[in-house]
Each structure stands twice: as C-alpha cells, then as structure tokens.
C-alpha cells in the first residue's frame, strides 16, 4: 500500500505545469486535492515518474461572475462549493450536491476540478455539471478551449481532457428566475458513493416545462442525460401523468450494468423512484 517512487514538481503557473508534463515524456500525473489520486497511487493503479502538484497555481482558483456565467476555478474545494454564496445562488446544483460528496475531511481537500476531471460515474459533481449545462475550460500548450458538458463525458473515466491537458475552470450558465432544480441520491450510508443519484434543472414558463435537463448518475459509464424522459416532459405541466410518463421512459434512457449488490432492474427501479421524488419537488415550487 505504498506508492512507487516518483519525483515531485510544484509549478506556480498553468504554462509551467503543462511544460513540466511535456518534459516528463507524458509519464506524469497532476495532483490537485489528491483524494482520489493518492489511493490510486498507493494501490499502484497508477505509477507515474513525476507528480505535478497543481494546488499552488493561483490561476486555478477563484469564483467570479462574468457575463451571465459563473467561473469556478478548478481548485475550488468541495467545502467551498458548499459554503460559497455565489455558487449557492448561481450554480445551486453544485451547492445542493456538496453535502453528499464524501465526508467532511475529504471535502476539505478534494477539488471540483479534480472530481470533474476524474469523472467517476458515481460522482455527484460531474453529473451536476451535465445537469446545469456547464462548459469546461481546458488548457494545453497551444491555448485554451471551452467544451460543453454534453460533449465532455466520453466513457468510463474518459473525458474531453487529453493527456497532459489541464481543466482550468468550470463555467456555469447562471440560473434564471424561471429555473427550478432539485438534487437527491440513494446511497447505502451517508458519504458513500450513490447507488443512483439525480439532478434536474427545469425552465418553467406559464406552469409548463419549457426546457429540462434531467441527469442520472451511478447508472452507467458516464453521467447520463435521460433524453426520452426529458421529451416526455417538455411542453407539459408537471402533473402526475407527465411524471409517470417520464418514469416509464427511463427504461429507454438507461442501460445500467448488473453488479454484485444491485441488479440492473433494481437500479432502474430506484432511478424511477428518485425521478418521481425530484419532479414532485419541482412541481411543488413551480
């Protein structure tokens, strides 16, 4: 349970970090909070020659409003996601999900960027990034680009981030007065990864669902947008029949794997239960 030997670098700018990675011949890992990487190194699931500590790069910090978007620096820690008033107001699904992410001590160190870069399919923040339709700011030595969340999650632990690139910030389109949202998850114990979780962002106009982003996690290789269920709701009132139609559509949207504790049919059942609860909550406040 000890990591293989490596050398340690502590760059202070994004460019310096990218150059250090390139100079390592791609045999390097970035470390942010280390709350997922350190166990992976201890188990020797990864064994890089160079560990590049990005936690001291000021460009990766900060939370600021810019033209209708909230820019959240990649190094924003889970505990800040929970306490920051700008996130609570403008990116509420990150705020609402934060208490469910791990335990207090892990939230003191783990970062939003690390969680979204890792893209664990059972993780809360990557799924909420998809639900809010964020854009991911990714840097390499030739510059920086913004990737919409809908194009960012590719496969298990695989994202639009290419080897050596850095996720620098998460840009959230700020919620509007017509928006309603809800988050919840079903887990065995508090702080455990969810069996099934969900986040919903709905744009309600004249009591009708004008637009909706309905995301489930823990149900496949990536967080999943339940597009059939969204279709079943768009243009409708959030009444019981619409909710039942959305729940029914979930079996077209989801193809969860069987695992030793949770058969696929049970996961779909739990996803339906959760969806019903969340849509019910949104209907109440709409």
């Amino acid at each position: 349970m000890k990591a293989r030997a490596f050398s340690y670098a502590r760059p202070t700018t994004v460019v310096e970090a990218l150059q250090t990675f390139a100079a390592s011949g791609d045999d390097a890992s970035y470390i942010a909070g280390g709350q997922s990487l350190v166990p992976a190194l201890a188990l020797r699931l990864q064994a890089p020659q160079v560990l590049i500590d990005i936690a001291h790069i000021p460009e990766l910090r900060g939370i600021a409003l810019q033209d209708g978007w909230l820019r959240i620096g990649a190094l924003t820690r889970h505990c800040e996601t929970l306490s920051d008033p700008l996130i609570a107001r403008h990116a509420p699904l990150f705020h609402d999900a934060a208490p469910y992410v791990a335990h207090p001590a892990i939230r003191n160190k783990g970062t939003l960027g690390g969680s979204i870069a890792l893209a664990d399919p059972a993780s809360e923040f990557p799924a909420m990034a998809l639900a809010m339709g964020v854009e991911l700011e990714i840097a390499n030595l030739s510059g920086s680009r913004r990737v919409p969340a809908d194009e960012y999650f590719i496969d298990l632990f695989q994202t639009a981030i290419e080897p050596g690139e850095l996720l620098t910030a998460i840009h959230v389109p700020v919620v509007q007065p017509s928006h309603r949202w809800a988050f919840d998850e079903l887990a065995r114990r508090r702080g455990d990864y969810a069996i099934v979780g969900s986040g919903i962002l709905a744009d309600m106009r004249d009591e009708l669902v004008a637009q909706i982003r309905l995301v489930l996690f823990g149900v496949g290789n990536t967080p999943v947008r339940a597009k059939r269920a969204e279709d079943a709701l768009r243009g409708r009132q959030l009444d019981q029949s619409a909710i039942v139609a959305a729940q029914a559509a979930l079996s077209d949207d989801l193809a969860p794997p069987d695992d030793e504790h949770t058969p696929a049919a049970m996961r779909i059942h739990l996803a339906r239960v959760l969806l019903g609860r969340l849509l019910g909550r949104i209907a109440e406040v709409a």
Partner: protein, 171 residues
Amino acid sequence: MSNSININVTVNGEAVSRNVAPRETLADFLRGSLELTGTHMGCEMGVCGACLVLLDGRVVHSCLMFAAQASGSEVETIEGLTERAAIADIQEAFHQRNALQCGFCTPGMLMTAHALLSQPGVPTRDEIRDALSGNYCRCTGYESIVDAIETVARNRAAPAGSKNVVAEVGA
C-alpha cells in the same frame, strides 16, 4: 528522479525542515520521522479516519497526502491539540462516558469532534453522527462517542456554572 526533497513544515507550532522521499505520506512522515505516533493509520485510503490531522486549520487525512504537499503549511496533530489543552474537555468527556475502548480510532474521533465543535452553534445528534460518518470505530458502537461530543457541545454553549456531567446525557 530526485530521491529526496527538502520540505519546510510547521508542526504543532514548531518549524521543521527535513528531507523526505516524495512518495512518503504525511502520516508516515509524522509517525516515522517526527515520532508523533498519536496519528494512527488503519486503511491508508481515506476511509477509517484514524489519521486525521489539521492542515492550515482544516481537518484532513494525513494518509491521503504526501509530506511534500504539506511543505509551506501548518500541521497540527493530536499531540499539539492535547498540549495546548484545546480539546481537554472533549478528552475528559470521552473518558467519563467510556467513548473509547482500544483507543485506535480515538485520535481521529477527537480531531473530528474538535472540528465540529469549533463551528458556531450546538450540533444535534444527527449532525454529530453525520460529522462522524468518515470515522470508523470497531469497539464502542458509536453511541457513547456521540454522547460525549453532545455533552461537550452543550457545556461549551452553557453559561459558566451550569455544566452537565456526562453521565446525565445520552440514550
């Protein structure tokens, strides 16, 4: 590859400068190089909470970081908290309520209790349990630990002279 690097850390108020292997965890460094063995190690993967320390005032797992990452920071261990009597009342309450048996989990429990009780307000039993969700105890069944922490929370909030004794609180 450099085999060792120099780090500068403040540990329990004292400036420490040492050479470490980059792969040495903060937990191994505290226990091995500094002989601060109050920080315990169980799972070495962030699950059991025996290894909690304060890093720049926030509770973190010392098994989930390398000593090199702590360079430039302030670390406080259970020894430091004990010495400056910051948790004397929590320790006393644990003792009175039998909130430890083998004691393996106790340094981590005290760290979590310290962090929780440093926040404003009196936590409910549910909030105490929630805060303890990352701390495993294989002996006590947790009830007595929750009792002890609840007692201290109330005592700290109570005006002087009206303190509860531990035995009156609980299940």
